[in-house]
Amino acid sequence: MISSNLSAIFYLVSGVLFILALRGLSSPETSRQGNLFGILGMIIAITVTFLSIGNFSSGFIFVLIFILVGGSIGAFIAYKIPMTAMPELVAGFHSLVGLAAVFVAISAFLNPEAFNLGVSGNIKLGSLIEMSIGAAVGAITFSGSVIAFLKLQGIMSGSPITFKGQHPLNAIILLSIIVLIYFLCSTQSTNLFWFLLATSFLIGFLLIIPIGGADMPVVISMLNSYSGWAAAGIGFTLENTALIITGALVGSSGAILSYIMCKGMNRSFFNVILGGFGATENTSGSSTKEQKPVKSGNADDAAFLMKNASSVIIVPGYGMAVAQAQHALREMVDTLKKNDIKVSYAIHPVAGRMPGHMNVLLAEANVPYDEVFELEEINNDFANADVAFVIGANDVTNPVAKTDPQSPIYGMPVLDVEKCKSVLFVKRSLSPGYAGIDNDLFYKENTLMLFADAKKMTEDITKNL
């Protein structure tokens, strides 16, 4: 058994190691080392916990068994999961953090003596407040992440679910959570505690159902943030520095990511959270524009255009992930490079279903990361490029965002794809994207539509090159 002062210092060390783990992610070279710092921090935190309890009775064996069981499940998932399923995986993991926070809070509420928080029925007020906030946020994280997971997995429809009085209902439930915490703290009633948990689960569910599929990058980042605040809440209860530091880090990390994602869509956080985007506009714009002529081509035409180009910019989007076209795409690019054509990739901040989704897929297909550029880095290059190859992206290339103040996506930063000499647009049909609006790019003089599955089309082009 080690003294509580010593263990507090070790917890601080592990908190610092977690900071270094995030710091490592500033560049791919240092990132692997950063991950090792994170693992080391975790080992220290767990070891110190065992040493400070000093109870190596039979209970200890069970702790090890549960760690082993959970650990093997986790390791199995980590090795089996395809990279295209990363958004689902992260959503699933968030739900587990949330549920773990809830379970720890339940345990502490039922047996406060073990945590040094007073006795059952008379828990220290401060601890009780911290614990109930941690439990409520954890429960919201859990049920919200489960919904996000179901939507991403396709088990539940990705389209927003809205009903009348949704927002007032949510507001009432959120208010009642605060009232419940107040009464819980004054009465210490176990029933109120269960009721608080149930209400929090419910609101987590209700908050996420109105948010549509393409807004998932914001939702996942937001839930990431929540899982951090839940951990911090529990950290205050347990008076544990490692947990408080980690909770604050994760909380602010998720908040920053949500901010970046919202900025990428030029929408306010509240606009995304209130949901329903893209559900109502479907009917309006489409009827007038259907008559416009569209030039469509086949793999042969596309190969011809690219063979005669000197530089090509690839614009990948969620459709590439759905079609699993990243490997086929890289093979096409390899062929282009053999013909001395300069190729780069342009990634919009909200391409895909989570922050950095496209980058991971391209990395998986062995695309070197120094050929992949962010919107601001590459947007000026479109004017000098010969061909833009849009694969699975739509709204993020729509010039309407720059020209039509009436459009729902007006003001959103978009890739200046139309400035290229010619645009190849791989898409299954002319149907509008997530925002429910027509893409003007389809009807441009220099656009050639390639109607096909992204993977098949890319393979066909490679054959024709």
Partner: protein, 102 residues
């Protein structure tokens, strides 16, 4: 007058938010997915609370309601710790610079 220890914890919390703010802004956007998976893994340090909860029973009754919730939380957090760090490792191993040109 003595300062409540809560104030110290609050200070750590607030300062960590600032540290997190600056550290996360310096993360390159191409690594945002690994950032999410690694934050997931480290937030599972909540396992320390779960371990305390799991070991809260005495030698006669290892399993009481409170410790059962603790054991469940241990398993959940362990899935996250192993899964989170390993999947991050797997992703980061894929980020390569251009070297074998052609």
């Amino acid at each position: 007058m003595e300062i409540d220890p809560l104030i110290f914890r609050l200070s750590i919390f607030i300062l960590s938010i600032f540290v997190g703010y600056y550290v996360v802004w310096s993360v390159t956007p191409s690594l945002h997915t690994p950032l999410m998976s690694v934050t997931n893994a480290i937030s599972s340090v909540i396992i320390v609370g779960a371990i305390i909860a799991g070991l809260s029973g005495n030698s006669e009754t290892i399993f009481n309601t409170s410790s059962i919730f603790g054991f469940l939380a241990i398993a959940l957090a362990a899935i996250n710790i192993f899964g989170g760090f390993l999947v991050t490792q797997r992703m980061l191993a894929m980020y390569k610079k251009k070297k074998k040109d052609k």
